[in-house]
Symmetry: C2
Subunit: 250 residues, 2 copies
């Protein structure tokens, strides 16, 4: 089996936990990493609380190949991510000359204390380019510190991915079953899962005015094995009484 | 300060981490709990891996007043939440007579092994009503185990909330600043945050074709203190050169 490359996402921000903001960064990062064969293995959401950010970051960076954080890198008092990352790595923060220069050119030299806060990077960190608005993110060790604003985070990911060790891409195929529930799908699906321990087989039921059924997903790094299992799955479901069984992706 | 009631959410499912599914359950639960004064303090997303589900559940249930899990309670082989919860609590799973009776009435007595899987509840657990489709969830100790399908999860929350110790509701007010960035907002905002340690003040910047600025959010359980701080914030921002400063909620 090919080497697995893993990542975790740490979402930092009271606004996600209060329900004020619907997070979409996790889904974007998951899909983006997936196209490079990097598996998102865990995610955590923590509030703007120093001890919790540091504890979560240390747990995740020790456990996975990479950690991507989102949120908390602006100039306001609640933006404490850089401080927490520096403390987690046991290093100081220093003003990064490139950021100071960028900001001086943008604000014609007029840098107040709040703006200077955004120039602070942990010693040993390198910058992550921001193609949209505001200061860059940074990388230190296996941790990438990105903005929380989705458009900014997305642009930063373009500068993160080239730095990652990438893996074999996971191939995912879906079989949509209509008019039959998981109760009758479970047994043939489980038999195929047992026979293919290197693949991941999942069932995602749906119900609504349009009917009911389940989307069955076969995932794995060996494309031929995925195709073979999709074909075997369609065969195995022939007798369950579904109204339709359709591959929904090529 | 009034007693704080805390909760964590544990989202279980490969489909969230692969990016196949955009989670919306966290945001719904956050807002729903908020209306009862229960603070969502942390969330985690883990895959369908037994050891990780158990470790996360044990970390969260020891730390917060309540834990709500979503996902992994169907009849298929990848639905392992009940097994993990039972193991985390060190108890066995047993078929719950009410669920067996419900399912027998629905499927006219025809219960295969997969369907019987859905009837398993940890010893000592009580049921959480499912008003939509499929088997109920369950509660054991301070842990509520809900479905992952959003419509089902939402209906189950109606049976969770009456069982919670509730707290004083957090009042949240927003001031929208246009045409001025966080660099000039930060200082007056930080001064008010320092003067009001019982409140939470946050800044959520926006930029786009319609302009730029930030939504400033004042949150706290003391409504008068929130109102006073919103008024002080609007005063304090008078000199920063914004094109508009508007309360956006009553």
């Amino acid at each position: 089996m090919p080497d697995r490359v893993t990542a975790a996402v740490l979402i930092i921000g009271d606004e996600i936990l209060s329900g004020r903001t619907q997070d979409t960064n996790l889904n974007f990062i998951a899909k983006y990493l997936g196209t490079y064969g990097v598996d998102l293995a865990e995610a955590r959401v923590v509030g703007d609380i120093k001890e919790e950010i540091i504890a979560s970051l240390n747990a995740l960076r020790g456990r996975y190949d990479y950690v991507i954080t989102t949120g908390g890198i602006g100039p306001t008092h609640d933006d404490i991510t850089a401080d927490c990352v520096a403390e987690a790595f046991g290093v100081a923060l220093e003003e990064h000359p490139e950021i100071i220069a960028m900001m001086q050119s943008r604000w014609q030299g007029e840098l107040n204390a709040a703006r200077r806060r955004m120039a602070r990077v942990p010693v040993g960190g390198s910058l992550v380019r921001n193609g949209v608005q505001g200061p860059p993110g940074f990388q230190i060790g296996n941790v990438f510190v990105l903005a929380g604003v989705p458009a900014v985070m997305r642009s930063m990911m373009d500068d993160v991915v080239p730095r990652l060790r990438t893996g074999a891409v996971v191939i995912s195929r879906t079989v949509r079953v209509e008019g039959a529930g998981e109760g009758v799908i479970a047994e043939p699906l489980a038999a195929l899962a047992r026979a293919n321990p290197d693949l991941s087989l999942g069932s995602y039921p749906f119900y609504g005015p349009q009917g009911y059924g389940s989307n069955l997903v076969v995932r794995g790094r060996d494309g031929e094995a995925v195709e073979r299992t999709v074909a075997a799955l369609i065969d195995a479901l022939a007798g369950i009484g579904a109204t339709s069984i359709t591959r929904v992706d090529a």
